[in-house]
């Protein structure tokens, strides 16, 4: 029986801890006992595989995927693009990236969102795509607006896009949020500040990318995503050797 090559241990100091009282909902939704460390078996190193049949090519264009014919959402037109890499800086190809966000006014198309800013009839707010052979992905959307939330009396989320990424193993599964360069709400946000490492916060901020901007059409932001790397099988304790 060969040992599967494991994923690198997750560096939990780069991630938010479970209990972050400034983000109030975490208080009752955080385990009190320690996580049990688990080496990887086939259950951990495998994960779902998606193909082009699972999605439509237009699913990554939020300017058109919910708009009425001939109409478009209101807001700042942006391309959000980047690469999905692993910790070894290798591209993660053919992996599913899903995205969701509020509209330009900070309103979500969700029956539980009651913020008084209006719904945009031409904007759904979700998209999905598969990375290409180089790990590259791109979405077209509008830049989301900030919105208030019931945490402290006057808390506002910075403009952000939620991103969900798979990788090749189920233990690479990641959901995160991407912020936008220069937003003064970023340092004030209790959810951003759940992350203890300032460099890890910087890594969540998409950068204005003039080189990818389409003149007279759409401005661009760049956001690269890093998933856990996986080690080779060198020096694994395998009876048959490497």
């Amino acid at each position: 029986m060969t040992q599967p090559a494991e994923f690198y241990q997750r560096n939990r100091s780069l991630h938010p801890p479970a209990l972050t009282p400034g983000y109030k909902t975490s208080v009752a939704r955080s385990p009190r006992y320690s996580l049990i460390a688990l080496g990887n078996s086939v259950s951990e190193i495998t994960g779902p595989v998606f193909g082009q049949n699972d999605i439509d090519p237009g699913d990554n264009d939020l300017l058109t995927n919910y708009a009425r014919p001939g109409e478009a959402p209101i807001g700042e037109r942006i391309i959000l693009h980047g690469r999905v890499l692993d910790e070894n800086a290798r591209p993660v190809p053919n992996t599913l990236v899903e995205l969701w966000q509020a509209n330009a006014g900070g309103r979500y198309r969700h029956k539980k969102d009651t913020y008084l800013a209006p719904i945009d009839p031409n904007f759904g707010g979700c998209g999905r795509t598969l990375t290409d052979a180089n790990g590259y992905y791109a979405f077209r959307t509008v830049k989301p607006g900030a919105y208030p939330w019931r945490n402290m009396v006057n808390d506002w989320r910075p403009a952000h896009v939620h991103l969900s990424v798979f990788g090749s193993g189920f233990v690479q599964r990641l959901i995160t949020q991407c912020y936008f360069q220069g937003d003064p709400l970023i340092p004030l946000c209790p959810i951003v500040q759940t992350i203890p490492d300032p460099d890890a916060i910087e890594q969540l901020i998409a950068l204005l990318d003039m080189n990818a901007t389409i003149p007279l059409d759409t401005i661009a932001y760049r956001f690269d995503i890093v998933l856990r790397g996986r080690r080779s099988t060198l020096f694994e304790n395998r009876p048959e050797g490497n």
Binding site: P4, Q9, N11, R12, H15, P16, T20, Y23, S26, A28, R29, S30, P31, R32, Y33, L35, A37, L38, N40, S41, V42, S43, T46, G47, P48, V49, D54, I55, D56, N65, Y66, E87, N88, A89, E98, W100, Y108, R109, H110, K112, G124, G125, C126, H162, F170, V171, R173, L174, I175, T176, Q177, I191, T194, I195, D197, D199, A200, I225, V226, G229
Partner: protein
Amino acid sequence: MAQTLSYLKETASQTAGPYVHIGLAPGAAGFDIYKQELGWDIAGPNAQGERIRVEGRVIDGMGAPIKDVMLEIWQANADGHYAHPEGGGPVEDGFRGWGRVITDFETGEWGFDTVKPGRTPGRDGRQQAPHLNLWIVARGINVGLNTRMYFDDEAAANARDPVLNLIEWEHRRATLIATRSEAGGTVVYRFDIRLQGDDETVFFDV
């Protein structure tokens, strides 16, 4: 100058938030956008093995069910093979082994239909007991929580499972074992997940 390691650092996790459904289950958010939503059919029509239903709730530290949670399931087929190039062997056409489940917004109840998985090899070559791998995200959960669900009618296999036996506190192993019942010809396993407090579910750093 000292050498430096050139590894990249993993992107930090953030909560999925209360509107996770918009991206990952838009029908539940209240709108119809995609030709097909992903994750609703775990085993597919051709999967061999026993058809089962799994139901439960996710309960917070105050004892209240969480009504905006999303779970993902990753499992082997009845032969113990995952639908992945390194998954151990072939699977039936249409068997993905991955599913996505959201709770009822009013009751917090969730459920899904699948097949009971077979045994898979553990890292030391010992067979693992049949299990589902679960990943839980929600508002208030900063990093997705990994756990496993085992089956109470697999007592002998569970007793020798290399992962359950990692858990030093023997009484906590019971938090990972679902309870079987049958109703109207349907086999149902009940699995409540307690995030915090008495009978807190075991979560793994995988």
